[in-house]
């Protein structure tokens, strides 16, 4: 099937305005008749739930955390982009659009990305009005910093905790709606199935993580804003509870999964210290504004970094990409770090690390300025590594961070299942094959505050409210399926822990489907993952019962889904015979090791459709057409 993204026609700059005129509205008195389920309370979910509540819809919001304020958007450090051009440095909506399309290596939809750039400015206005304390100068105006993949300063920030402040803004808007009675919150509740009635999304089945109760919730539409899936690598910068479960269960109910192989490996994370490692910690990309990345010119150099003279250091990003230097996009910076470490130039334990050095910046600006800009990150680095980054360079290494792929959605952010909308990192739509820094916060809030409130109305206006309730046969079946799977997991009584399986899966994924992928490594993964899955269902051990708080059971459900999803990720990576963005196939590179894209054969979105257990999913394609930018070799040199 050739998929249609249903992008509006006409000039790029007018598409969203024109489309909004064409969308149907729900009259204010009728809004309260509709109930909308929102799963996930990160930036996308909380902003959507709050805004829909303000408009008068009845909203049920779900999160697995104990409070909506804890969703993992909270951990975003560096900032949020907007095309305000407050710095008068040549920024514009078109330039933000162009940078994002190019940064994504020309694998995103033009119309979606342009809309994102258009909306970016309204997001900053909204957040300021909510009381988000963005950084200001002495005159009281907003400050900006630079991020990777851009030559302008368009990133707004609140110290190193921008995600936290934006999420708290959305959470506060949500709290206001809870008080107003339009939104109900269901914390410590995990979605385990999507329920379709007559082919339309009409509810979900959840497990109450405290009581263990498995129950259904019905609504007139379902919004998934459940984040990304890079915990398939086990070690990542994601929170421990982040999983593919909600989107994967929707996929198994018929929603297409698009571009799962587009995963982002973030270049600046604290290196692994041992087998006990449970997660990896990001050091914000904003550090690359002032930090310089280097390795010794001599492989295996044992000297302390400060004892290595300037002439014996290789500032490899500045050398290879002189015009962007240390602010090269994430995929390029990560791959370059891997290359120098593979060649033996790495530093620190196991030689899997490179230096991020603030020596020059401290000499130029003083330690106080650097502390004011990044103090919390330096403190965090010291707590984890016991090293003082004011005195010696940080050691960093790439780590899985973000998923550009996700459930397929059209221009309305509606999946191929009617009534199912997917927002934020959970969808595939805006970042192509690589996301630029400070763009995830922008997308999550654009989707939730300013897009879905319009587009969901168009769907609801065409459906009668309250068509389904939880006594419907489809809900009964879903509840039984979920209960059966839970009981099956608890009954295995094997010998290995869930964590052991997750570590093994992560190892397979990182080694074979990580920063550099080959047909051979991907075929190895496609062999190894089903074997591990088989073993999991024979030999995993989950103590306790399902009628109580059981964290091992929660983890087991998520890892079971990763064990299926990992295979789809590898399959998608094998089918995409080109290198683009975060997807690097060693067979497809230029003579100097850069990604070699193939626009003739692969300028499309790959959307996979579930065909049943043990069967190969069917591939559908959405052709990407570029009318406003020229498909070019992405150069940051």
């Amino acid at each position: 099937m050739i998929l249609d993204g249903k992008c509006p026609t006409g000039p790029l700059a007018n598409k969203w305005d024109k489309h909004r005129q064409d969308l149907k509205l729900v009259n204010p008195a009728n809004k309260r008749k509709y109930r909308v389920i929102v799963v996930g309370t990160g930036l996308a979910g909380a902003s959507a739930a709050a805004t829909l509540g303000e408009l008068g819809y009845r909203v049920d919001a779900f999160c697995y955390q104990d409070s909506p304020r804890r969703a993992h958007s909270i951990a975003a450090q560096g900032g949020i982009n907007a095309a305000k051009n407050y710095q008068n440095d040549g920024d514009s909506i078109f330039r933000l659009f162009f940078d994002t399309i190019k940064g994504g290596d020309f694998r995103a939809r033009e119309a979606n990305v342009y809309r994102l750039a258009q909306i970016s400015n309204a997001i900053i206005d909204q957040c300021v009005a909510q009381g988000v304390p963005f950084a200001r100068d002495y005159a009281g105006y907003l400050e900006n910093r630079s991020f990777g993949g851009a030559q302008v300063s368009r990133t707004f920030f609140a110290r190193g905790q921008t995600g936290q402040q934006l999420l708290l803004g959305a959470y506060q808007a949500l709290s206001r709606q809870v008080a107003a009675g339009t939104v109900r919150i269901f914390p410590r509740t995990e979605m385990l199935d999507l329920v379709l009635v007559d082919g339309q999304a009409k509810g979900i089945t959840v497990r109450d993580l405290v009581s263990g109760e498995i129950r259904c919730h019905a609504a007139d539409a379902v919004i998934l804003a459940t984040g990304g899936y890079v915990n398939v690598f086990n070690l990542s910068t994601n929170a421990m509870g982040c999983s593919v479960t909600a989107t994967w269960r929707a996929y198994k109910k018929g929603a297409f999964f698009a571009n799962p192989c587009f995963t982002q490996i973030h270049p600046t994370c604290i290196p692994v210290t041992g087998d006990h490692q449970s997660k990896l910690t990001l050091m914000s990309e904003s550090l690359r504004n002032d930090g310089r990345i280097w390795v010794p010119k001599k492989a295996g150099d044992e000297r302390q970094p400060r004892d290595i003279p300037e002439s014996e250091r290789d500032y490899y990003l500045e050398r290879k990409y002189p015009s962007f230097g240390n602010l090269a996009p994430r995929d390029i910076a990560s791959r370059a770090a891997k290359e120098v470490c593979d060649a033996g130039f790495g530093v620190g334990p196991g030689r899997r690390g490179v230096y991020l050095d603030f020596g020059d910046a401290i000499a130029r600006l003083g330690e106080d300025t650097i502390r004011a800009r990044y103090g919390n990150l330096f403190d965090m680095y010291e707590r984890i590594t016991d090293e003082n980054a004011y005195q010696q360079p940080m050691r960093i290494y790439p780590a899985p961070h973000y998923s550009m792929g996700g459930l397929w959605v059209d221009y309305n952010l509606q999946s191929n299942i009617e009534g199912l909308f997917v927002l934020g990192e959970a969808n595939f739509s805006d970042h192509g094959a690589n996301r630029l820094g400070a763009s995830a916060l922008m997308q999550g809030l654009a989707d939730g505050y300013f897009i879905v409130p319009y587009t969901i109305a168009d769907y609801l206006a065409r459906t009668d409210p309250n068509q389904a309730d939880t006594s419907h046969e489809a809900f009964r079946q879903s509840r039984e399926e979920v209960t059966r799977q839970t009981e099956k997991l608890l009954a295995i009584g094997g010998s290995r822990t869930v964590g052991a399986f997750h570590r093994e899966l992560g190892h397979i994924m990182w080694e074979n489907v990580g920063m550099a992928r080959s047909a051979a490594s991907l075929k190895d993964a496609l062999q190894a993952i089903p074997e591990l899955r088989e073993e999991f269902w024979q030999d995993v051990r989950i103590p306790g019962s399902g009628q109580q708080l059981n964290q091992e059971l929660e983890k087991a459900g998520r890892v079971a889904d990763f064990l299926e999803f990992g295979e789809l990720l590898a399959r998608d990576a094998l089918h995409r015979g080109e290198s683009c963005g975060g997807h690097f196939r060693v067979e497809h590179q230029t003579s100097d090791g850069e990604a070699l894209r193939n626009d003739t054969d692969f300028a499309y979105v790959a959307a996979w459709q579930y065909q049943g257990e043990g069967r190969i999913p069917e591939l559908h394609k959405e052709t990407l057409t570029f009318e406003n930018v020229e498909l070019a070799v992405r150069s940051y040199k």
Partner: protein, 252 residues
């Protein structure tokens, strides 16, 4: 290093609970405290014992989920550090470590080290926001905020809502948590309009939820992983004192 852990185990809210003793062996100094517990839990599972339930998520000190009292201190011995960011190099071979849940009447125990902090969400619902709906707001630079005010607001806004202040306070008071939000929004022009209603609403909610009052012990600031200053409690009291007569006048 080898350690002896005394961990609070409690099956459910109605269960009596007890301190169980476990050995943690071959602990690396590079492990985080929670990674040490992960390893202990894997050992327990293999022995057929249910693992210790504890709350955690981001493991980078920002989500505010982790919540343990370690040797009597909320979030453990290191200043300005959440449990998830506490590393084992803070301990030494042979140490005995007591691990307990947050202790407060307003935070009932769910299981082991997991407590119910939904009372803090309800405090926020009682006014911890600016009443602005999506859309129709002025340009971001139309509201000028001097750097000092933005910085002070940010000092307060850094609160991660973990509840350590409540757990550390002998009165189980949530005043530092409430003061942080009141202090942030009262400092900004956007939040000023509703300041009186906010401080009164949140203060009443504190009483209703069973949190105690502040009697100037300052244990909250000492336990706060973000180092939120008690000066915000002073500001909270001032805002409250100014708000009461104003609201009474409005009522007339």
């Amino acid at each position: 290093m080898d350690l002896t852990l005394h961990v609070w185990r409690q099956k459910g809210p109605e269960d009596k609970g007890y301190l169980a003793t476990y050995k943690a062996t071959d602990v690396s100094a590079d492990m985080s405290f929670l990674e040490m517990l992960d390893v202990v839990n894997e050992g327990l599972i293999k022995q057929g014992i249910e693992p210790i339930a504890f709350d955690h998520d981001c493991r980078e000190g920002i989500c505010g989920t982790c919540s343990q009292v370690i040797n009597g201190d909320a979030h453990g011995p290191q200043a300005r550090t959440t449990v998830c960011q506490l590393h084992m190099r803070q301990f030494k071979d042979g140490d005995e470590i007591y691990i307990e849940p947050w202790r407060s009447r307003a935070f009932p125990i769910i299981r082991d080290l997991v407590v119910d902090r939904s009372a803090m969400d309800r405090l926020m619902q009682a006014g911890g926001y600016v009443s602005v709906s999506t859309g129709g707001v002025p340009d971001a630079n139309a509201i000028l905020i001097p750097k000092q005010d933005a910085d002070t607001a940010m000092d307060a806004a850094e609160c991660i809502g973990c509840g350590a202040c409540v757990a550390a306070c002998p009165n189980g008071s949530a005043m530092l948590f409430v003061a942080a939000k009141v202090g942030q929004l009262a400092r900004l022009p956007q939040g000023r309009a509703e300041a009186a209603h906010r401080v009164c609403g949140m203060t009443e909610a504190m009483l209703k939820e069973g949190f105690g009052n502040c009697s100037n012990h300052y244990d909250c600031e000492a336990a706060c992983p973000k180092g939120i200053s008690v000066k915000f409690i002073a500001q909270l009291n001032r805002e409250y004192a100014l708000a009461l007569p104003r609201l009474r006048k409005e009522e007339k």
